[in-house]
Symmetry: C2
Subunit: 188 residues, 2 copies
DNA sequence: GACTCGTTGTACCGATCGGTACAATCTCGG
DNA sequence: CCGAGATTGTACCGATCGGTACAACGAGTC
C-alpha cells in the first residue's frame, strides 16, 4: 500500500479546485490529470465512476465540511448571535473573502445541474434549515427566521457571483458585514 | 435576399436561450444548430467568428436590452422611487420570476469567463452606476447609494442562483420584494 | 435565361473528449 | 525473496468537439 504523494482523501481538494475554476464541463480529464499529477489509470482506479463520481465525491466532501463547521454549530449552539457570527467568519474564510467560488453554486448553474440536482438542493436546504433554527432560537418567529435565513444564503451566493463578475472581491466582505447586521437585527 | 424563417437579429434570442440553459461550454454547435434549425453553414455565415462571436453578440444584445429598459430609465427618471419600482418589475419579468437564468452571471461563473470578462464587468458596472445615481437622487449619500445599489445586484444574482439550485422559484419573488423595501427605506 | 450573390446542407478536418485495456511497476506480508 | 494485490503510465477506443470547404440552391436583375 503505497502513499506516494497523496491518498484518495488528499485528492479531493485538488479535484475541487479544478471543478471550481473550470466548472464541470470545463474540467477535462487532461486538466484533472495535470492538477493531481496522476495519470488516467490512477484516476480511474480511485474513481471508477469517472468524472461524474469525482464531482459527486467532491460535492459530498464539501457537504461534509459545511456540516461539521457550519451546519452543526448553527443547530447546536446555545448562543445564536455567536453562532451566526461564527458562520459568517467561517464563510468568509472558506471563500477566501470572495476570491474562491462556491462549487455548489457553480454546479447549480452549469449544464450538468440535473446530474447533481439532489446533492445541490440538499446542501442549500440543510444550510437554510440550520440557520433558520438558530435564528428562531434567538427569538424570531418561524417565518421571519426563514426569511432572514434565505436572504443570507442569497446574499452569500450573490456576493460571490458579483465579486467574481466585477473582479472586485472587496464587495464580498462588505456584503457579509451588511448581511450580519440584517441577520442579527431586532425582529421587525 | 430570402428571409426564410429568421434573420440574423431574430437568431440572437434563440442563441441566448441555448447559452442560458447549457452554459458556454455546454452549448455545442449541434445543440445550437438544432435550436435554430440552421446548419453549420448558415451559422458560420452569420457569425464568421464562430461560437465566441455568437456569445459575444448575444451578450451585446442583452446589454442593449438592459440599457434601454433598465439602465437609461434609472438614469433619467425624475422620480427615483418609481424608477426603482419599474426596475424591479422589469427584472422580475425579464427573469420570468426566477425561472430564467442570468446569462451574464452564468458566463461569469463558467470556464470561459476570461474571454468575456470585459463585457461582463461593464454590464454590472453600468447597472450599479445607474441604480446608485437614482438612489442618490432620492436623497441618499453617495456611499449609501452605492452600498444599497450593490446590495440589490447581489440580491438579484443570488436569488437567481438559489432559486435555480433549490428548484424553488418562489424565493425569487420574495427576495425581490425585500430588496425593494431595502432600496426605498429611509436613509439609515 | 444567364448572371450574381446571399444562403444553405453536407461532407470532412484534426483535435480532443471521457473512458477502457492492460502490461509494467511498486509495496508489503510472509 | 517471492508472490499478491494495489497502483501506475500509456496506448488506444469511438464519439464528438469547433471549424472549414464547397457545391448546390434560391431569388432577384438585366
Amino acid at each position: 500500500m503505497a502513499k506516494p504523494v497523496v491518498d484518495r482523501a488528499g485528492l479531493l481538494p485538488l479535484l475541487a479546485e479544478v471543478f471550481r475554476s473550470h466548472g464541470y464541463e470545463g474540467a477535462t480529464l487532461a486538466l484533472i490529470s495535470q492538477a493531481t499529477g496522476l495519470g488516467k489509470g490512477s484516476l480511474y482506479h480511485f474513481f471508477p465512476g469517472g468524472k461524474a463520481q469525482m464531482a459527486a465525491d467532491v460535492l459530498a466532501e464539501i457537504d461534509g465540511w459545511f456540516e461539521v463547521h457550519i451546519f452543526a454549530p448553527l443547530r447546536e449552539s446555545d448562543d445564536p448571535a455567536r453562532a451566526v457570527a461564527a458562520m459568517v467568519g467561517a464563510v468568509d474564510s472558506y471563500f477566501r473573502s470572495g476570491h474562491r467560488m462556491c462549487l455548489v453554486g457553480v454546479i447549480a448553474l452549469g449544464a450538468s445541474r440535473d446530474t447533481f440536482a439532489a446533492q445541490v438542493q440538499d446542501y442549500f436546504k440543510r444550510w437554510n434549515d440550520a440557520l433558520a433554527l438558530a435564528l428562531r432560537r434567538s427569538g424570531l418567529s418561524a417565518s421571519a427566521a426563514r426569511r432572514r435565513s434565505t436572504d443570507a444564503l442569497i446574499t452569500i451566493q450573490g456576493a460571490l457571483v458579483l465579486a467574481r463578475a466585477s473582479g472586485d472581491s472587496r464587495m464580498f466582505g462588505q456584503a457579509m458585514a451588511e448581511m450580519t447586521t440584517r441577520l442579527l437585527a431586532k425582529p421587525d
